[in-house]
């Protein structure tokens, strides 16, 4: 397998892998969503003349009824699902590795060697993600503690809104730190694949890339992130107009298509950013 030239690492050259990642996510999600669905309709919504359409009616009379009658089943399922969500989140490391390898590889991909190479990178990627998780946790705790301290200081000195907004400052900083850790982790993941580096080496490369090309990296991350938000918002508007509470079956199909198109777009936009991260951490950039 030939490493791709720096400029050739583009998401649009790997639509098949993008679709594969989407498929992986969709299947994982289905495994989690199915028991949740079963729990929510366990009260008997399947017996309604138009099935679960009434659960989407304005005012939520039957939605609240479904939650009331299915609350025990929902509670149990949500508890299990929370753990399953973490498990599937961790399993998402595999498609990430595959996507990075595909983006970084020249020519037509062959399944076996591509997968083998992706698997080979998993330890480094896991190490990077582990460090990232720890750093994010620290950012969250530090932000929360700082917010409590500011709130305590502001209480009595500022009015309620000003005091709350002042406390939001540290929380916002924590959120920015959280996102920055995510950017570093992605850069390090890209470096681990592109440079065949260990987790530690990859993190150092990522930090160096951020230091040298901070603006470019930020823009490279921010644009896909903004487009992702726009895709989710657009999806919400489009599906709202489709009135899924009406009985017609085509409406469900249309909403499904819109939502899955949004998820494909999100995966593609992530691929765009990862391709950028690969270019930013390419040895040729040193």
């Amino acid at each position: 397998m030939t490493p791709r030239a720096r400029a050739a690492m583009l998401a649009r050259r790997r639509p098949g892998v993008i679709l594969f990642v989407w498929l992986f996510r969709a299947l994982s999600a289905w495994l989690l969503a199915e028991p949740l669905t079963t729990a929510l309709v366990s009260g008997g919504a399947r017996q309604l003349p138009h099935g679960d359409a009434a659960l989407f009616e304005s005012g939520g009379l039957l939605l609240v009824e479904a939650v009331r009658l299915g609350q025990r089943a929902l509670g149990r399922t949500l508890e299990t699902s929370a753990w399953a969500l973490l498990l599937f989140g961790a399993l998402g490391l595999a498609p990430l590795a595959l996507l990075l390898v595909a983006l970084a590889t020249e020519g037509k991909l062959r399944a076996a060697p591509t997968c083998a190479r992706a698997v080979a990178h998993l330890p480094a990627l896991a190490a990077v993600q582990g460090v990232g998780l720890l750093a994010r946790a620290l950012a969250a705790v530090a932000g929360a503690l700082a917010a409590v301290a500011v709130a305590s200081l502001a209480s009595g000195r500022l009015d309620e809104r000003a005091a709350d907004l002042a406390a939001l400052g540290p929380l916002a900083l924590g959120a920015v730190a959280w996102l920055a850790v995510g950017v570093v982790v992605d850069l390090a993941s890209a470096a681990a694949v592109r440079r065949e580096a260990s987790g530690r080496a990859a993190l150092l490369v990522a930090l160096r890339a951020l230091r040298r090309r901070g603006f470019g990296v930020t823009v490279g991350w921010l644009m896909p992130a903004l487009w992702s938000l726009a895709a989710i918002l657009g999806g919400a508007i489009a599906t709202g107009a489709l009135h899924v509470e009406e009985p017609a079956g085509w409406r469900i199909a249309a909403v499904f298509a819109v939502h899955q198109a949004v998820v494909v777009a999100l995966v593609a936009l992530r691929a765009v950013w990862l391709a950028h991260a690969l270019r930013a951490t390419d040895p040729a950039s040193d």
């Binding site: 961790a90 993941s189 919400a236």
Partner: protein, 733 residues
Amino acid sequence: MSRRARGGAVLELALGLGTAALGAALLGATARRALPATPAAGSTAPPAAPSPAHPSPPLARPEPEPAHGASAPGLAEGEGAGPARGPDESSGEVQTLRPGAPPRTLGPRYDDDRALPARAEEVASYEIDARYDSSARTISARSVIRFRNTSREPLRELYFHLYLNAFKNDRTLFLRSPFGAGRSGGKATDFGYLDVERLAVRELGGDDLWPGADPHSPGDADDQTDIRVPLPAAVLPGQHITIELGWEARLPLIVERTGYAGSFVMAGQWFPKLARLEPDGSFAHFAFHPQSEFYADYGRYAVTLDVPAQMVVGATGERVASTVKGERRIDRFEADSVHDFAWTAWDGFRERSETIDGVAVRLLYPPGHERNAERELDAVRFALPFFGRRFGRYPYPTLTVVHPPDYARNAGGMEYPTLITTGGPWYASLLGVRAVESVTIHELGHQWFYGLIATDEHAWPFLDEGLNTFAEGLAMRAHYGEGSLLSLPGATISGEALRRSIAVAFGHDQPVALPASGFVSFQHMGALVYARTGTILGTLARVYGEEPVLRALGRYARRYRFEHPGPRHFVAAIREAVGDEAADNLERALFERGTVNYVARELASVPARTPGGVFDGASGREVVSRGATPSPARTLGRVLVFRQGSLSFPVDVDLVADDGSVVRRRWSGREEWTHLDYEGPRPLAAAIVDPERRVLLDDDWFDNATRARPAAPLRVLERALYGVELALGALGP
């Protein structure tokens, strides 16, 4: 008072052993007595003396009264429940007001405001001069109560409520539960009390009678909220007396809507208050129970408040004078035809004023809450005329709306005459939840269902909180639509949906019509008194029509303005305007734990076939083979429909064929079950009872429907799938 304002933590309120024992005793007594009593044959009671302003309610003791006072649980069955008699206003005849008998009619004269009384009969009027010491948190005051014996019996004692003593120590009825107490869910962290220093009756010699007063509430040595004062001589029916009191109150750190927090003060139930005098000469007195609210006679209040000069003061009634003398501000407030007086003071208040529907509305709110202030004013702009049109115009010149600061949030969500408190964080409106609006409209509704129709909140809490919850729901839906509780893009939840959910969950546990102390927990009281009453009335409105139900409420509210009606006055109004069936359902739902659940089962379809067999006809015996199908092909269908529970409402039943066509049938719901037959070109695919979900009280809406084949829940699955995909994207690497 708003349940929401009390916070979710309140929901698990449990009574302590002592309180539970008393509650159980009261519950037992009440459970026997709660049903509308059928008067003994031939028993009579004279009608109450008519007030100058308006004829009094015709019932001497109109209801099977829940026990007031410690001796009440021992009352014999039916005692105090007296015969319900009164003049029929339309015919002048005396009729018995009892279930099943035609009620005294209210009539269309109460469909508008022309028959509204201008003011209440003055029974207990208060003149109070109070000085607030902001460092000691004390109020030193003198009161003069002008009281008239409006009963038909001589009075030899008076009962005073010293509500603040509920927060005196951990042994009071209010605080003794080790599991926390009160609607706000908290224990007192800085105790408060009310010390009476002197009590004299001018017309009875003017001696200090307080040393002769009972030292504690009747039957409860640890409680001092309900004090009996023996009189040296009888006060005759119609006689006026002047009661002079000197007293000092120490405010607690805010608990149960009253007290201080920082420099903020909310003074509710802060002065010695006469218990309400019933027409039979008894006082409706009770120790302050954590689940209870209040009950008092109407009168005129003139209150002078002396507070630190920097404080902004809001209070019941009109501010008629305000002066600053040195470091003190002295404000005088006057209110006519009210039965309570509350005030608030804080040096941090911002203020907005506006005339709404002819009423001078004053909004006091904390800095930073400008957005809430606008939403509260918008709610009042809508709801004041909305309620006025339906339940009689708001008669007072002022309304004060108080939004306490967040650190005093326990003062929020409470009603007093012409003054309400709201609440909510400054960012409430950003969350899509209409909590601030809902609390504002709820407390404003209490100006009618509590303020102007002064029902006994201790004995029948559903009459103020329940009716008001229904009224609040009407206003919220009219103003905010289906998203009256939560309104987010793609998701709206109505308050009705949430109330119904709570109402059916608790409907089997206890009746709705219980005294506040009779509920096993505050959670039950909240669910039954607020949510279930609102849902019962919502069901009547959806089944029998909103217009007649509103007409009944309007007549009830106008006819009993400035009076003290009981449950049967309300039931009678429903009977008159909505009908016997509705009233019977209402009674069962309120007094008998009435529930209902419609169930559809055993949906079946078969092809129609000509009958086969041996037939003897005019042309002789004929053998016809079974199975010939008519042309065009027809299908026969059947579904069984059951009604479970003691309530019965007429319902529609939709029979849905597999091509989506619907045949709608009407079922009276009187029988316990029926089968509905169908004949049509296509087989039956589904059937549903009450497809428009009019019966909000239905225990389970999903068993109302049955299908030949259960539907795949594709919409839910699709939405769950998308949600999990987004979550995986956000949480995954």
